[in-house]
């Protein structure tokens, strides 16, 4: 099993290696030189701008809501604790379609505010959209940090003369800082990987440049080089995230800790808390999805919607199942601490920092390389041309998905496996349980919820994925994301609304399970 895990993880890491090989291998091209002199600084600037707006806004929303649900008591807190994770089911580009539609000149928000409400557009608009649907990353990590903090640090600050606000500012918040930073890094990585939102709102980021280089100039070499810049960008953020998580482990001091009791808020305070939590859901889900629903209902059903849904479900379902299997076996390899297994898992883990467009370029580079080698070999053997074009198949698409999202499956599986302690395994062994029985009777019940949420998370991520799908999809193969994007980029929002709406609708139900599972921490025994 170890071998399979290593191989699978390695295959998932291959596309990014292929990108690097191509980018570093070829000579210089005019296009790239031209680009460096003209658009590249713009791409870099806007990528940084979008990332900054997205992560800072998400940090404020996510941290504030995390503090409210983790440490305060107010009516509806239990519901909001998990519901606040649900915006992850909404792709940022879907929020962008709705928000632009709501706020542009002559649209409802513009009219109602007599033109005061700014049109959601450009890099700040994109950043805002990312913040709205990606803040749950910060929320989840910060909430775990707040819940895990012993209340004693906060109390100690109080007895040492700090007011409640100062105690929060100087102890609770800094102690949660690594978690918040890790969440922000995830937001930035997702924002860098996005294509649909920045394309729709007109923010020229690196991934726009990458898609232009590929679809406009058709140059694999240039695309690969831009990819490498994008990956370098993302890897810096990825490194920061890893660093943050390491520090979190250091900060989780050992010893007996008293879980924090929640503050009872006064009636007006509780109203405000409720309102804040509701507002987050309203702005990220209710309002934009409501607008799209309104749009979709006034438009005849686009043809091909059923087929696109089926395609989306099929590729996302298949890729998610494979990703989870790879994730689970990799997590076992990690648990065994084999050097090769760890290396392969980390390589696959880097995939998360690789934007979809880059993964797609990597897959093309990889597969066309294999094809170039296969064609003459096959011809010399059979006298015919190799019958299959590897790129442009659903398989290529799934490989790109895997190389990007296996990481999203590995880490929940890894977390789930930590519940199976060495002592539990030892106990089962000394009671002479066979390997089969240990896996079925001990491991499976303990890891099942974690593995299920790995499956759902990767399914939802793949369902939302746009750029890699755009580059790699087989001819005439439409998914919901593709359909929505094509209509939206033709300014046919009415027709884009139905497929755009279907993605979050399909994703929300399984996400409720994940949300409830992920937010279960700190719910037991925290309030006496």
């Amino acid at each position: 099993m170890n071998i399979i895990a290593v191989l699978a993880a390695f295959v998932c890491g291959l596309p990014i290696l292929a990108v690097a090989a191509i980018a570093l291998g070829g000579g210089s091209t005019d296009y790239l030189r031209h680009l460096a002199e003209t658009r590249l600084p713009t791409y870099l600037f806007h990528s940084a701008y979008v990332g900054l707006v997205a992560s800072l806004t998400a940090a404020v929303i996510g941290t504030g809501l995390a503090w409210l649900t983790a440490r305060c008591e107010f009516p509806g807190r239990k519901f909001f604790t998990w519901a606040l994770i649900l915006p992850l089911a909404v792709p940022a580009y879907v929020a962008a379609y709705a928000w632009l539609d709501l706020s542009q000149a002559g649209a409802p928000l513009d009219r109602m505010t007599l033109g005061l409400f700014p049109t959601v557009r450009g890099s700040w608009g994109s950043g805002l959209m990312f913040a709205l649907v990606l803040y749950p990353y910060v929320y989840l990590l910060a909430r775990n940090a707040f819940v895990g903090q012993s209340a004693d640090a906060y109390d100690a600050a109080r007895t040492l003369g700090a007011s409640p606000l100062k105690a929060f500012w100087r102890t609770s918040l800094p102690m949660a800082r690594p978690a918040i930073a890790a969440g922000m890094a995830l937001v930035v990585m997702e924002a860098l990987a996005d294509y649909g939102t920045v394309a729709h709102l007109g923010s020229p980021t690196l991934s726009i440049g990458l898609i232009r280089a590929w679809s406009g100039a058709g140059s694999l070499l240039d695309a690969a080089r831009l990819s490498l810049i994008l990956v370098a960008f993302a890897l810096i953020v990825f490194g920061l995230e890893r660093h943050g998580r390491k520090r979190m482990r250091v900060q989780a001091t050992s010893g007996k800790q008293r879980p924090a009791r929640r503050f009872e808020l006064s009636a007006p305070q509780a109203m405000l808390a409720c309102l804040a939590a509701f507002l987050a859901l309203f702005l990220s889900m209710i309002l934009p999805l409501g607008r799209l629903a309104w749009r979709a209902l006034r438009e005849p059903m686009a043809s091909g919607l059923a087929e696109a849904s089926l395609n989306s479900l099929t590729v996302a379902g298949t890729a998610a199942v494979i990703a989870t299997l790879v994730g689970l076996t990799t997590a076992y390899a990690l648990r065994r601490k084999s050097v090769l297994g760890t290396a392969a898992a980390r390589l696959a883990g880097v995939g998360y920092a690789v934007p979809g467009a880059v993964a797609a370029v990597g897959v093309i580079a990889l597969l066309s390389g294999i094809q170039r080698w296969l064609d003459p070999t096959w011809e010399s053997l059979t006298g015919n041309v190799f019958p299959i074009l590897l790129t442009g198949t659903a398989g290529a698409l799934v490989l790109a998905y895997l190389s990007r999202f296996v990481a999203a499956a590995i880490s929940p599986c890894e977390t789930a496996l930590t519940r199976v302690t060495k002592a539990l395994d030892g106990a089962a062994r000394t009671l002479s349980a066979s390997t089969r029985r240990r896996l079925l009777a001990v491991h499976l019940p303990l890891i099942a919820p974690g593995v299920a949420s790995a499956l759902i998370l990767s399914f939802v991520e793949i369902l939302k994925e746009l750029p890699a799908t755009m580059i790699l999809r087989p001819f005439n193969f439409d998914t919901l994301a593709i359909m929505a994007h094509q209509f939206a980029s033709d300014e046919r929002l009415g027709e884009a609304a139905a497929p755009a709406l279907l993605i979050p609708l399909i994703a929300t139900l399984p996400m409720i399970f994940v949300a409830r599972y992920l937010s279960a921490t700190g719910e037991n025994g925290a309030s006496r």
């Binding site: 007895t159 040492l160 800082r177 250091v250 900060q251 001091t253 010893g255």
Partner: protein
């Protein structure tokens, strides 16, 4: 600011659920310069009482006053940051993102806070670890930083919640000694919570016993040990054997001897007998059933003719075997008679 001369807790009650009160009319006085140990089993309400004094816990009823100023009362509740109590937490609660000296300086104000924090660290002999982070310090060092942090703002009252329970047994005595020296030098009223009888008896000037949310006995440790007010009180501070009997002709008779009593004849009493108060003689009717050695001490379990079991603690130098028939002598100082009310 000045230290608190007298801190009074009066009738403190606190219930977390309807049918269980963590504190039930608990009353206790703390005086400046005195170290009071609050001893009780886990769940007896010790920590709740301590947290109530610190202002981290409200009271349902009852009062806490410091030199006449109400901290917690029917209409008053002074915020913890305004009480100026120094609190050492069980897990120390050091801020993990601050160095030792930053931790100590947290409660200080003014431009010289850093140097005053260093002074305080010197007092606990940790000046050389000032720039280390909590996770780089050993358990004992963390405890001392926590103590320095609590003492640095010159608190009026110092509270310690099981301050030694996280430490290795061999370290504990030494750390405890040093902590008590530092606390005595500070001269404030000190309340420390513990479930370790030995620790309470050795370190405290005053001992308060807590059971089911109440203070059941309060006094000098020796006095509490020798004159417990009830079986529960006796058990909290050490081993004891219990025997019900009736006073007759000015004496209470037990299967292993008798002790004088000033109580009226025919009063039913419970005799609380410490194993240290039983001496053994070579002639008698007690059957030796078990012998346990613990270094210099030998614990002898015996059965009397009426079937009751007794335990004596004698020097391990005496020779005795299982199955021996022995007699007993009772040292009345180690026997307390309590009446059931």
């Amino acid at each position: 600011m000045s230290r608190v001369e007298l801190l009074s807790i009066h009738g403190a009650r606190r219930a977390f659920t309807k049918d269980h009160a963590a504190l039930e009319r608990a009353s206790l006085d703390l005086r400046a310069g005195e170290i009071t140990a609050l001893l009780g089993a886990s769940g007896s309400g010790k920590s709740t009482l301590l947290r109530a004094v610190a202002g981290l816990e409200q009271l349902d009823t009852g009062e806490i006053t410091a030199d006449g100023v109400t901290w917690t009362g029917p209409k008053t509740f002074l915020a913890p940051e305004q009480r100026r109590v120094g609190l050492v937490f069980q897990d120390y609660a050091l801020f993990p993102h601050m160095t030792a000296v930053e931790n100590v300086a947290f409660g200080l104000t003014g431009t010289d806070r850093k140097s005053r924090a260093l002074d305080q660290l010197r007092a606990v002999e940790l000046e050389h670890k000032a720039s280390q982070y909590p996770h780089e310090l050993s358990g004992g060092e963390q405890q001392r930083v926590a103590l320095a942090r609590a003492l640095a703002p010159r608190p009026g009252v110092v509270l310690l919640d099981e301050p030694f329970s996280g430490l290795d047994r061999r370290l504990r005595g030494d750390v405890r000694q040093r902590t008590m020296d530092v606390l005595r030098a500070a001269g404030t009223a000190v309340l420390f919570v513990t479930h370790d009888a030995e620790e309470a008896l050795e370190s405290a000037d005053q001992l308060a016993l807590m059971d089911a949310g109440r203070i059941i006995q309060h006094g000098a440790p020796q006095d509490v040990w020798f004159n417990p007010v009830s079986e529960t009180a006796a058990r909290l501070v050490g081993d004891v054997q219990v025997c019900a009997t009736i006073v007759s002709q000015g004496r209470a008779a037990l299967p292993i001897g008798s002790v004088a009593s000033e109580l009226d004849d025919n009063t039913p009493v419970t005799a609380l007998v410490r194993p240290q108060g039983i001496g053994l003689t070579t002639e008698g009717t007690l059957n030796v059933t078990r012998i346990t050695y613990s270094g210099p001490i030998c614990v002898v379990s015996m059965e009397a003719e009426d079937g009751s079991s007794w335990t004596a603690q004698i020097p391990a130098t005496e020779t005795i075997n299982i199955g021996d028939r022995v007699g007993a002598t009772l040292n009345p100082a180690f026997v307390t008679l309590v009446t059931k009310n």
